[in-house]
Amino acid sequence: MSIPIDWATAGPAVIVATSALVALMVDAFWPRRSWFASSLPLLAGLVGGFVELGRTGSVDDVSAALTFVILAGTVLVLVGATVMSDEDSMPPGELHLLLGSAASGALVMVAARDLVTLIVAIELLALPSIALIGLRQGDRRGIASSWTFFLTSVVSTAVTLMGVALLYGSTGTLTYAGLSRELVDPAVPDAVVAVAVVLTLVGLLFKLGAVPFHAWVPDTYRGASVVIAGFLASVSKAGALGALLVLLAIGLSPVDDVWVPVIAVVATASMTLGNLAALRERDGVGMLAWSSVAQAGFLVAPATAVLTAEGLSAPLQYLAVYALANLVGFTALAVVLRTRGSTSYDTLTGLARSEPWLGVPLAFVALTLAGFPPAVIGLVTKYVVLRPVVDDGLTWLAVVMAVNVMLGLAYYLRLVVVLVSRPADEPDGITSRPAAPTGLATAAVAVGTAALVVLSVLPGLLIDHLP
């Protein structure tokens, strides 16, 4: 039996996965164990993924755009990870293997057009992520976080599998196209389908970190290396959101009366609880963790209108900006953590004055996430996600979103204030700053910020080029 392989769909994922294996091999057999020896193959693989994407495209425009976001995000993570390149406790070969595997999982996720591939992809993304979180040797907190993530991930995947089983049982098909065909059939029992659909969505909402499946997010982000947290917050989320959108728009389109209220409720709960919890946060990484819970709400809210004309493009555009901003933020915080030993607000005070190449990007990221000028692109994307919700007639959800934009301002702007205010007592010079290899990561921060600034000046670049 020969299985036809659609290389347009699988190409980038296969290339990235292969390069991840090459990275591990190089690390294992190269006599001088060095960081770049194993990171370069992965980088080459990611570039190859871009080339493959440009050559063949993907299943459709949406998947192509998501593939691009995932590849670009992984490149930023890869460069940002060099901030750990002198740490003995961080094994480079394993790190790059796991990073590449997880990225290829995300790539398969957005290209999946049947439920089995989706489940496999979720696991391909989840299992390396678990290992990545606890990768730093001897870091008990990282291992505890990893354990938390593992257990909650298993629970949610189990729930999803139940949903998938129910769907298969009631419709007899696993492909999205088949689902959308069978679900219109009035013979299919309504209540069973409703339960099945919602349970299937749980796994993806868990990956997105949406309330009530968010409990792992704050602990995990704090326990993992900051760069890995950035990976979870952007690349992993991009995969989950892409899979969710495609599943809703294609496979489950006949039963939108089931999932629209579910998505709306989850979006409301995520935005509100995430924002409220972030209000009390006094730590940079913790704030970004809770904010990513809230942003998950903004990401899925326009999915309620996924069947309308703008339904797919709105969350995509938001995702692209959100992922870029988050990666810049986490990478900058990773550098701060290396040089200053902490990311609490006390440490960050006056960063934009003392180290403008880190503090100013962080402030710009906060403004982008808040949707506040001069980060116009944040404002534009906020508008972009609000519009389909309003057009679709879910006015109450739009009001909730607007209120949450306001709530978000409170803590994002507080971070900006912290960054630009004068430190209460001048730190006594550059006393014992450990020499860390932060150059490449800082450069990545600068490039990412420059991209955000360019997009703020010319939002059309993003709006016109994403589907």
Partner: protein, 564 residues
């Protein structure tokens, strides 16, 4: 040392650009001769950068750019040592740009934006020396009074948009031409409110004289070329939307008649050169409005341009005098004829133009105003004949008073015995010379109506003779005192309105603090509590997390099933 020439160069670049833009438009037909060609009004709501420069717009733009450039040059000497010269010079450029936006735009909202930016610029520039309390007060008064009028413009724009379905001025003209002027009374009176505030006409006249503590070049800029001129220009520009309305035209005639005479009388009794010139601006603006009320918008704009030239000259000259003697009080002046010769000769031209003496440009444009009012008395314009006659009489009386106060100010400033030596910096005098030449050169080719010319010259000479006879004596007490107190017209604005406002504000503040603030404060407390609760769930115990997920999944399924 502050580098000053870059700012002059910047202004010059703007001015040259304006000239290149505006000069080719000069020889086209005027406001009312304009025939709209492309009848495609943009639909609501629109904010576009379309411009439409008509011949009269071109004149006003050239005036604004020219005066601003001269003021900028002049300021290098007058304000060169000022600590905040940089912001001052840049604000002047912004002022010019806003004025150009108002004059050139075809979009009502761009007009509104330019209009408001001018308001802000005037506030900042009048209050440039904010260390002085009277500067702050004057700036605040200018802002508040003109803002009050701006409300009229905003509402007028909305009414125009709702009436004609477009926010393009040309589009509205086309609509008014096709379907007749609709809601003309409402639109006209609202625009009138706006321009009465901006151009300091009765009853919103008091801010202009009180703006005198600002730097004198700024006074010249505001009085001659930008701020107050914008009011006249906008009223003329929008005239096709309400020009046939008797109510609006009568109201405008009454406002302008009362303003021109009162302000001229106030100018006659002032003991302060700058304040007298300020009142004279108010009076001259009323002439322009009178011409518009008589249905001759082009004449009004012509007088606007000529007034811009000679009033800029007078204020800049006044600045030289103040620079020399250190005050603007007339009692400290006298005998400056020999010590400030360039200023003397140029300001003489300026005063002659103000008084309407041939061959200055002021003579010709003022005569055309008088003539257009005279034509209106034939009853062929929307203005009722009786009102036109009354306006004509008032205008001639004002010619007399204007000539009298111009003569009086000239005598008190320049005649008499010289006191001590003064200096005139060259960068201050050559703008004066340029403006003096302009006051004479602009009169070339102006039409002349012999009857009006003879009559107005006679009246003006009578006024000059009157001033010569009185010399520096005040008017008789019963006339002098109420006029010097400016009839107490300022009283309601400085006393009653603030008192009333403060009362209302107290009540509102108390209600806000005790009543409404409960909700935001309560909201903040609630948010804090929820925040703590959510974070309390983050125990780090993975059993709790798994339970949350299981319960959450159950709840979400319930939502899905029930909502279905």
């Amino acid at each position: 040392m502050i580098r000053r020439w870059p700012y002059v160069a910047l202004t010059a670049v703007v001015a040259v650009a304006v000239a290149i833009w505006a000069i080719p438009e000069l020889d086209q037909r005027a406001f009312f001769g304009y025939v709209p060609t492309n009848a495609t009004p943009t639909m609501l709501p629109s904010l576009s950068l379309d411009t439409r420069v008509l011949p009269d717009s071109a004149k006003v733009m050239l005036l604004a750019a020219g005066v601003t450039l001269l003021v900028q040059v002049y300021s290098t000497a007058y304000m060169g040592k000022d600590r905040r010269y940089r912001s001052y010079a840049l604000l002047i450029v912004l002022f010019l740009v806003a004025m150009i936006a108002v004059v050139a735009t075809d979009n009502l909202f761009v007009l509104l934006i330019g209009w408001e930016v001018m308001g802000v610029c005037s506030y900042l520039l009048i209050g440039h020396w904010w260390e002085q309390p009277q500067s702050r007060a004057g700036a605040m008064k200018a802002l508040v009074v003109t803002r009050f009028g701006d409300l009229g413009l905003l509402v007028a724009i909305v009414v125009i948009g709702q009436t004609y379905g477009t926010y393009s001025i040309t589009g509205a003209w086309v609509g008014a031409a096709d379907q007749g002027q609709q809601h003309g009374t409402a639109i006209g009176l609202l625009v009138l409110l706006a321009v009465v505030g901006k151009s300091a006409q009765v009853p919103l006249q008091t801010w202009l004289p009180d703006a005198m503590p600002g730097p004198t070049p700024i006074t010249a800029l505001i009085h001659a070329a930008t701020m107050v001129a914008a009011g006249v220009y906008v009223f003329a520009r929008l005239l096709p939307l309400y020009g046939n309305d008797t109510t609006v035209m009568t109201a405008l005639a009454v406002v302008s008649g009362v303003t021109m005479l009162l302000a001229a009388l106030f100018a006659l009794v002032q003991h302060d050169l700058k304040r007298a010139l300020a009142w004279s601006t108010v009076s001259q603006l009323a002439y322009m409005f009178a011409a518009i009320a008589a249905g001759a918008a082009d004449v009004g704009i012509s007088h606007l341009v000529s007034h811009g030239a000679y009033k800029a000259l007078l204020f800049l000259g006044c600045g030289v005098v103040m620079h020399a003697v250190g005050t603007s009080a007339l009692s400290a002046m006298g005998g400056l004829r020999t010590t400030l010769p360039a200023t003397f000769w140029t300001m003489t031209i300026g005063f002659a133009a103000l008084a309407g003496i041939i061959p200055t440009v002021g003579f010709f444009t003022k005569d055309r105003v008088l003539e257009s009012i005279h034509v209106a008395t034939h009853g062929e314009t929307p203005l009722p004949g009786g009102v036109a006659w009354a306006l004509l009489v008032v205008a001639y009386v004002t010619v007399f008073v204007t000539a009298a106060y111009a003569m009086r100010l000239w005598m008190l400033t320049f005649l008499g015995l010289p006191s001590k030596q003064h200096v005139e910096p060259p960068s201050m005098t050559w703008p004066l010379v340029a403006l003096g030449v302009a006051c004479l050169a602009l009169s070339i080719g102006e039409p002349l109506d012999l009857d009006t010319a003879a009559l107005s010259t006679l009246v003006a000479l009578a006024g000059i003779a009157f001033a010569w006879w009185r010399q520096d004596a005040d008017l008789p007490g019963p006339v002098q005192r109420p006029l010097a107190a400016e009839l107490g017209l300022d009283h309601p604005i400085t006393r009653l309105i603030p008192a009333g406002t403060i009362g209302v504000a107290r009540v509102a503040d108390a209600a806000d603090r005790e009543g409404i603030d409960v909700y935001p404060r309560g909201g903040a407390v609630l948010a804090g509590l929820v925040s703590s609760a959510v974070r309390a769930l983050q125990t780090g115990r993975v059993q709790v997390y798994a339970s949350v997920i299981a319960v959450g999944a159950f709840v979400v399924v319930l939502v899905g099933v029930i909502a279905r």
